[in-house]
Every structure is written in structure tokens, then in C-alpha cells.
Assembly symmetry: C2
Homo-oligomer: 428 residues x 2
């Protein structure tokens, strides 16, 4: 892990040297595959879904839908202890997201009523990866805000294992979340099925959830026909620390991010060289005991660094420029930094708020804007599952008081039919 000193006038250059190679490569070949899959699902529906599942997941399904029996068997197969943990996490996630609920409102002024009606999106599809990246937390984090929003039809798709079954943790989490329909299909074919529908799967209005590059490109392709959540890019943790921080904690948290992906980036920002050196040692201490050593080493060597800024101003400017998915502030008084943070997905304050606390348990969503998109995007939340309509009521009197202004405005824009729509209401 490199240690790099930075000043206010050179941090941008030094950051981009680290991060600029993490950009999207050409997707032409993948896009061709994805477009073909989408066309075939549109043409052949369930038949194509079953064929692709045989080809990509190596299993010939007779039924696409996961039936009650399989869900109940999965529920029985999961230990009571883990079901309790899942349920505690569910409660925390529910309680946090409930505070994001927005109300419809109305406002009255004389004979005018203006308002905003908040309505749940009617149907939502949720992609949950299979295999090694089959995480029950994905189900909770994507499904719970949809349920709180009031989505009527929450549909989960997830690829089956070679035995034709869905990972039992995923099914247990889906049962706890209250998912309405589950289909054992994955990949671009499942995204096409959700967007356009097949004989078995009715189309949805929005698709959320993480997936591999085929899933991501398929989501981008069907965007417009349906809405999608963000497309996840390489993710980051950025830790701001002073000498009050324990090197072992910092090292552990940097490693927890690095474990996800070789492209993940773990960045420490500290004004203390001595802390930087100690963290390097702690990293080596801890890394040996972990499972995903190769992934971690690549992420740490290629995409990670310790930056030593000359002052707090530079440190804060760096954070806002990185716009990290996860920011940890391990300083004596982390709350004094909070107002300065403009761009970050989730902000973890203090020495006992490590990122994995947020991944599973604390309540806030773990679906966060990655790769600098926290400059303009938010964590997944209840508002991603509702949409608004403006509401406008004017009485005749109210309209008569502004009719001349509206007509004049319309005529200044050259739109005579717009002016006519006002005029016709006040003809003698």
C-alpha cells in the first residue's frame, strides 16, 4: 500500500492517477449477447427462458416459479439462530427506512388547491445474484424499502443452482421480506422477462438489484421501458483518521472493502505519517487470516493508497472529490467533520461504526452510489419505489384572475392553442 503526500493544489492529479484506470471498458461484445437474449425472450417467452437457464445455469427447469413447498423447505433448512439474526436485521432496516416515507400533501390558497400525490410504483422486479455472491442481505436491502413504499407486486428473480434449487438463505430472506413472486431465472434473460413479460412472468415497472456485467448491461438496455436503480460500478471505502484511531481497526475496515472485488478501492486519508506506517503493518498482520487473500492483495496493491494531506481542508476536498461509497470518519470528534462532507454514500462516524455494521445490520441501505456517483446519487431508499403526481385545482374565479397573464405568456412562446384553452373559458 503506497503512502502518498498531497497538497490542495495536487490532490486531484494524484487521486486520478490512482482511480482513472477503473473505467468502463468497451462493452460491444457483451452488449451483442445481451441484445440477442432480450430479443429471444421477447419472441419466445418462457421457452427461451428455459433454454437460457439450461445453457447458462446448467439445469433444465420444468417450472420457472419457485413454489410454496420449496420456500418452506428452505425455511426449515436454515438454522433458527440465523433466522433470528435475519429477523433482527429486517427490523432495523424496516425501522430506518420507515422514516423515509413521504406523504402526499395539499396546499390551499383562496380558491386554489395545489398538491403532490405520492403513489407506490405498482410492480417491481428484484434481481438477486446466485452462486458465490448469493447474499440474503441483498434481498432485505432491496425488498424492504419496496414493501414500505407500498409496492403491490414485488417479484424476485434469481438463478438456480445446478440442482435446480434456489439458495435457501435467499429464500428465507425473501419469505421474511414478504416477496410476492419468486422465479428461478437469472442473467440478462431474467431482466428481459421482467421488462417485457413472458407467459409466466408478468412485466414490472421497475427493476432493482445487483448483478454481473450481463445483468447490468441488460438493465441499461431496458431502461426507459422500465425504470432501473443505479448501475453499480467498482466500490470504495475511504477512511479519514487522526491519531485517536487504532491502526488495527483501520486495517480491518480497509480489508473488508478489498475483499469484495479486485477493482475495489480502499483509501486512508490521514495527516499522520506515523499512523500510515502502523496501518501498513496492521494490514500485513491481518491479511493472512482471511479467506479471499488474492482478491484482497490485488485491490490493495492496484487501487488503494494512504494519502497524507497537508491540512484538513485538503483532506475534506479529497473526500468530496472521491465521493466514496463508504466513508468512515475515525477522528476525536467525527461530528465536526460531518457538515463538511458533501459527497458520500454512507458516512460511518467514530471508532465503533465499521462499514460491515452498515452492510447487514444497522438499518440504512447497503445499496449505495459507487465510483464517484455519490456526487449526484443517493442510497437506495423508499423514494425509489414511489413516484409523484402534481395536483392542480383552480376555481373559475381563481382562473379569471390570472387568465390574461397566462394568455400573454403563451403568446410570447408562440403557442396560440395554449392561449385559446384559457380564452375559450371566458368567451362572452
Amino acid at each position: 500500500m503506497r503512502i502518498i503526500s498531497v497538497r490542495l493544489d495536487d490532490y486531484k492529479k494524484k487521486l486520478s492517477e490512482l482511480l482513472q484506470h477503473r473505467v468502463e471498458e468497451s462493452m460491444a461484445e457483451i452488449d451483442e449477447v445481451v441484445e440477442n437474449v432480450i430479443l429471444n425472450i421477447q419472441k419466445d417467452g418462457d421457452k427461451a427462458l428455459i433454454e437460457y437457464t439450461q445453457k447458462f445455469d446448467g439445469v433444465l427447469l420444468d417450472k420457472i416459479q419457485v413454489e410454496e413447498g420449496e420456500i418452506n423447505a428452505a425455511w426449515e433448512a436454515v438454522s433458527d439462530e440465523f433466522k433470528e439474526i435475519l429477523d433482527k436485521a429486517r427490523k432495523n432496516i424496516w425501522s430506518y427506512h420507515e422514516k423515509q416515507r413521504q406523504n402526499s400533501w395539499m396546499d390551499f390558497d383562496g380558491e386554489i388547491i395545489l398538491g403532490q400525490k405520492v403513489t407506490p410504483i405498482e410492480s417491481v422486479g428484484m434481481y438477486v445474484p446466485g452462486g458465490k455472491a448469493a447474499y440474503p442481505s441483498t434481498v432485505l436491502m432491496n425488498g424492504i424499502p419496496a414493501k414500505i413504499a407500498g409496492v403491490e407486486r414485488l417479484v424476485m428473480v434469481t438463478p438456480p443452482g445446478k440442482d435446480g434449487k434456489v439458495n435457501p438463505y435467499i429464500l428465507a430472506a425473501a419469505k421474511l421480506t414478504g416477496v410476492d413472486e419468486i422465479y428461478k431465472v437469472g442473467g440478462a434473460q431474467s431482466i428481459a422477462a421482467l421488462a417485457f413479460g413472458t407467459e409466466t412472468i408478468l412485466p414490472v415497472n421497475k427493476i432493482v438489484g445487483p448483478g454481473n456485467i450481463y445483468v447490468a448491461r441488460a438493465k441499461k438496455k431496458v431502461f426507459g421501458v422500465v425504470d432501473i436503480d443505479m448501475i453499480a460500478g467498482p466500490s470504495e471505502i475511504c477512511i479519514l483518521a487522526d491519531e485517536s484511531a487504532r491502526p488495527a481497526y483501520i486495517a480491518a475496515d480497509l480489508l473488508s472493502q478489498a475483499e469484495h472485488d479486485e477493482m475495489a478501492s480502499s483509501i486512508l486519508i490521514t495527516q499522520s505519517y506515523s499512523l500510515a506506517e502502523k496501518v501498513k503493518l496492521a494490514l500485513e498482520d491481518q491479511i493472512a487470516s482471511l479467506d479471499r487473500v488474492q482478491i484482497i492483495r490485488k485491490a490493495i496493491e492496484k487501487n488503494s493508497a494512504v494519502y497524507v494531506p497537508e491540512d484538513v481542508e485538503t483532506a475534506v476536498a479529497m473526500i468530496n472529490d472521491i465521493a466514496p461509497e463508504h466513508l468512515e470518519v475515525m477522528t476525536v470528534n467525527p461530528f465536526e467533520i460531518l457538515p463538511k462532507i458533501k459527497n458520500a454514500g454512507a458516512i460511518f462516524l467514530g471508532h465503533f461504526s465499521p462499514e460491515p455494521l452498515g452492510d447487514y445490520f444497522a438499518g440504512p441501505n447497503h445499496t449505495l452510489p459507487t465510483n464517484g456517483t455519490a456526487k449526484f446519487s443517493s442510497p437506495l431508499g423508499v423514494e425509489d419505489f414511489v413516484k409523484k403526481s402534481s395536483v392542480i385545482y383552480y376555481s373559475k374565479t381563481a382562473l379569471s384572475q390570472v387568465k390574461d397573464e397566462i394568455e400573454s405568456f403563451a403568446l410570447h412562446e408562440g403557442l396560440t392553442a395554449h392561449a385559446n384553452s384559457i380564452k375559450v373559458r371566458f368567451l362572452p
Copy 2:
């Protein structure tokens, strides 16, 4: 204008016969042009901007930025009367959107603090079309929510006329709105400049505003580097009316939508054949007095219809299936319909709330989801100009109470470095 009777079991088919041809054609040629423009702006910056402006707008600029002098001259050139109208509209739009402001919040539970920090997007670019579609209302509707959100740098781009100047109404509206920087460039080249920056124009985090197909495709292309608002498709008005409605009002409102675009769709839904016939006559009566007769006739003939549903249930199902950009409810008691409306951009209630009232003056935004996307999208609003960060603080005691659950959850997902980040904090 066709009159088509529908039942609950056949309305979907009959609607799609009307609307299905309004789909996106192949964009391959346009996309090639757009990609080239974007590459050249990234390579040559201002030089390429000036060249494209000469090529597409027919004017050789010496300065890209609109200077104070030109803005003030435009302000003087606009009549006091129209400036007053603009200012009244500004106040109404401001007052409505102010109610959309969201606060950051924090929540306390023992030694746990959870919250959500709301932060303005730092810089936003706003595209305003030039030429015939140069509307001052575009400036107000896109700019005011950004200002209310607290965007620090609101940048407007708009193509110059052949005289090298910007439409004075546009500049007057920009001055009233408080736009921070104005550049006289348009087309895909201006979108590329906003996304990637040039010597003169610093890059922004988000781009909003309507434009022609080149602008729309360029926005889609740079999406991800920056955020964008929705991509507008063909737009609609849908009017639900009973015999309490005046045929002349309905006809005028259908025409006001048709005036925008040949692809616009004006749909009347009424259970009364007699009203349908009267509206047809009223359309012919009024159409002759309008300016854009050709556009209107095409929109009315190709994409418009009167539907006569067998019951209210069918009428409401149709509206929610169309998910119209604009819905007018002209019935005896329009508020009794309101709870049933799930999908619509803006809902206009009663006989004196015509759509043009919302286009300019009432306050709600006129940038609305089109082409059925109201099923999952909202009107442009203040929340499009902010983003959120989750905030998480646990004390040592609070973390110690849940450490076993989090470790167990991480291990169930096979992520040992995640478990380690908790464990390391409680080593003896």
C-alpha cells in the same frame, strides 16, 4: 378524431393500437454523429465547441460565455409587462417547489445515531433550446427547483441565433431565476462540454432540460459520468369527462397538447357518446383559428381518439395504463376520482384547471414524465437537485451488543474480512 368504445377486457388492445407506433426508431446514425461530437469536445475543448457552433448554428463566436452586457441588454429589451408576468410565474413556481424541500434528519436510540443527510448537487447544467422552441418557461421550470435545492453552480447552455445572440426572453428568465453562468452553445456539443468540461466551461454533476434528438441522445450517452433528468418522449393529454363538461373546453385542451408535436397524443375518455360527438364538432370549430394547424391535424388524426368505456372502472384502468403526462378530470366531482389515479404526471381537476395553467403559471413543474413513464417517474422537482448520504454512529457499547450477530451474518455470506472488522474491535 375516432370514437372507439372499450370494455375492461379489450381496452389494453385498443389503446396499444393507438399508441404502439409512437416507439423509438433506430438511432444508429444519430448516435454515430453524437459520439463523434462528444469525442471531439473531449479532445479539442473550446476550439471544437466554436467549430460546431459555426457549423450547426451558422455563427462564429469569439466568446462562448454570455456576458453581463448582453444579459442586461436583453433585460431592457423585454417589455415591463412581460417581465412582471415572468416574475409572477417565478413566485408561484418558487412557492410550490419550496414545499418539496427535504430536511436532513437524525434519530437517536440509546447510544446509536442514525440519520440521512440531504446535500445539494454541487453543479448543474441546464439545456434550453433555441430557435422556435426557445421558451422562457423552460428556464423557470428547470432553474427554480435547482436554486431552491441549493445548487451552488447553475449553468445554462443555449444555442445562439444567427446574429450570435441569445433569445432575450431566455436571458430575462435566466436573470430572474438567478442562473450563475450562461454559455451560447447548443446541441450535443454543449452536453459534452457540460459533462467533460472545456477550457471555458467547468464540468457539472448533472444535466437537465429538454432538447432535440441530438441533445437527448447525447444526454443518454453521458449518463453515468453525470446524472441526467428524464429523456422526454412523445407527450400526452388525457381528459376524463362527464356531461357536466363543456365540449368547447375539452376541445381547446386537446388542441393545446396537439400543438406541441405531431407525435403528441390527445385522448378523451367519456362514457357519453353525445359529449364525444359535440367535442368532435368543437375541435373543427376551433382549429381554424390556430397557428400550428398542420401539426395539430396530424397529432389529432394519427395519435388521438375519444374512448367510450362501459363503466368508470374501465375509464380509470385506461388512465392508469396510459399513465398520461397530463390528466384533466372534468367531472361533477373530480376529487372523488383522485384517489383512484395511480399513474399521471400532473392531474388537473375541474373545469377551470386547463393544462396551460400548469405549463406556465400555477407553480407545479411542467417537466413531466411522458410516454407512459409516469408509471415509475415523477415531475421534475427539488429532489432531483439533492442527494442523500446515510449517517451511522454506534458507540462501543452499542456495537458490542450486536457484534455476534454481525459476525455471524458476514460468515453466512462467506465474507471473513467483514467478520474480522467487527472481531478486531473486541479482541482481548
